[in-house]
Symmetry: C2
Subunit: 223 residues, 2 copies
DNA sequence: GCAAATATGATAGTAATACTATTATATTTG
DNA sequence: CAAATATAATAGTATTACTATCATATTTGC
């Protein structure tokens, strides 16, 4: 995976950024340290000014890449889901047993990223933590509908649709493939959050993974 | 339900507010119009200054009830979940069939509030929309752990635990009662959100309710 | 019925935020 | 080497999320 990915560029919708951060050294540093800084201090405390100071650049320069702090988060979540989607497609394409395929897909969206695959300037472990903690803030806004029209969430929706397709293939009569797929994708993040902060309302811990829970849930439901 | 509730006070942990808003006319107006204003302009645009203007009171007076905008949201979510918990306990207590009981409980946490039960100054329909759109912002903060220790989320956790208990009663061998209960509670809100904004990744609509989806999911999973 | 306590209102002030605008200085490219 | 482009520096703005202070109502206890 490491070598393969090193020659790939994860494709994020172009209208999310003003200037593609992958196109320059500064852009990459913005993304690299943006992730680390959000992971350290949280998205609410994160500002372009602080990021500028950290990378010894200027707030105004960052604004030439991202029109707002919010769009930066949308960029990061899109990048993350595109990366997960890549792994999902790559890891499931050679599996012929449809059930095994779905199991693998669930495992990929529900697992925590254990180590940096080091193919780029992006620390996926830190990014994964950010997604668990704040990804829902990228769509919980008054402008969701406008942003959705702009295609800001299309990668996420495509990923959920892929899982929905797998479910339909296994059982074409099952009535709720999309709801189940979106419940898995979003629920897995939630279980990770609960495991870290509200242990009493989850069974997930070091021994029981969200993947395990959702695999059992999914298979028993659609059969 | 209407008459019963009119004599009841929904109990919210005391340390969430500075002064109990139920204890005065101004306090009730803060809550009443706070809900309406957040519903209208969204939580991010909502400020105590705007609320003060709306109720012809003063920003500084509102700060005497709630120490911050964030705590106000925590108050509203606690009130909401306490209200849901009340309905759940009330509606299920006379059901002897454990499976029917669980079905009823799921229906209550997953349904949308259809009309104001009019027992107080609180518009539950608007509050329900707020919960769907922003409730996760109440815990997705850097201070979750500190706030959790203070008991800010105990009502929500107690509600999830009740559902978890019902699941355990039906099948004591099922391994993930708490994860399932938290997935239902949080997933139902998410399905409502998707239905309103990302229709392509949900099967829920006017004909198919989140309740229906989660009842089928739950019963097939735990049996 | 009045003083004391309490609740509310009005005003001002503050540091930080999330930007925009402008101008200057590097760096790259044709 | 000039022109184009990228980055940096500085300043400025409206708003936010408060805190602090003082004044004025309103309620309550005696």
């Amino acid at each position: 995976m490491i070598n393969l990915l090193s020659n790939l560029k994860i494709a994020v919708p172009e209208n999310i950024f003003i200037k593609d951060p992958e196109s320059s050294d500064l852009g990459k540093r913005i993304v690299e340290h943006g992730i680390l800084l959000i992971d350290e201090i949280g998205f609410d405390s994160f500002t372009f000014k602080k990021l500028g100071a950290r990378i010894e650049s200027n707030e105004s320069s960052i604004y030439r890449y991202f029109e707002s702090k919010h769009k930066f988060l949308v960029y990061l979540t899109s990048w993350y889901w595109a990366w997960i989607e890549y792994q999902l497609v790559f890891s499931t394409q050679n599996i012929t047993d449809e059930e095994e395929k779905l199991k693998k897909a669930i495992e990929i969206v529900a697992r925590i990223v254990k180590q940096d695959s080091a193919f780029s300037h992006i620390n996926e472990v830190a990014l994964n933590r950010i997604i668990i903690n704040v990804s829902s803030k990228s769509y919980l806004t008054t402008d969701v509908d406008a942003e959705n029209k702009e295609g800001h969430f299309k990668i996420y929706k495509r990923l959920v649709s892929r899982i929905s397709q797998m479910i339909q293939t296994i059982n074409p009569k099952y009535k709720y493939p999309s709801s189940l797929a979106s419940t898995i994708t979003q629920g897995a993040l939630h279980q990770h959050f609960l495991k870290n902060h509200f242990k009493s309302i989850t069974d997930c811990n070091d021994a029981v993974s969200p993947s395990e829970f959702f695999v059992q849930l999914t298979l028993s439901t659609i059969k």
